[in-house]
Symmetry: C2
């Protein structure tokens, strides 16, 4: 399976999980020739709107381009949504990371599995169904 | 240009128009193997969220499948958005139609150019920038 297909499958998995918990969720179309920012997923349960940049990796860390996260932030500001990053590492479940919790490496933004365990939220916690 | 391409171009035109007026707007991805409802366009200016089913036609009327409008309604209910239909007839600009204003022909739902002129809103009126 291509890297792109795996990415789309990961997005679809999250969308299934969100609908199963009563949220409306959708994948956004590739930007094509357009230059407007768009997250991978938009979801809402009426009370909360969330914009998600969604990544899977076989490693124990994931880098993001600063422009990518800036665009997520810009879109979310305009739309009135919370900006989140969702990451799935090798054989882990999903972690939801506040973009403020990404580590600035100078060139990129980084989340390691270790930091995700400390700062990230699991799916049900993210949805507010489990209060820590 | 294929019918699909023309449809995508029409969606992109609306998205440009919305961003130009300070709204965040995006095209949704084709449902693919997923069975969840999704409108063509989602947009928000923080205060209002709108879900749009978007059509162009060379005729002076446009039919919608009842299931299509029902799915738009369902999605909008879950998401917390206003459901709208945007239609562009032969050589006209965009009309925004409240789904309650579509005519029930028994099998389908219909909007004619004539009815759109009476019941529809123009772009700026739709955004609340012109009050009639």
């Amino acid at each position: 399976m291509s890297r792109k297909s795996k990415g789309i499958n990961a997005e679809r998995e999250l969308i299934h999980m969100l609908w199963n918990r009563g949220w409306a969720a959708l994948r956004t179309a590739g930007s094509g020739s357009m230059h407007f920012p768009a997250p991978d997923i938009i979801a809402s349960n009426k009370l909360r709107k969330i914009a998600i940049e969604c990544k899977i990796t076989k490693e124990d860390k994931k880098y993001f381009k600063k422009t990518e996260i800036q665009q997520l932030k810009n879109f979310s500001d305009y739309f009135g949504a919370e900006p989140w990053v969702a990451v799935k590492f090798y054989r882990t479940s999903w972690f939801f990371i506040n973009i403020e919790d990404l580590e600035d490496t100078g060139k990129n933004l980084l989340i390691t599995h270790k930091q995700a365990l400390i700062k990230g939220l699991g799916f049900f916690e993210f949805l507010g169904e489990i209060i820590n």
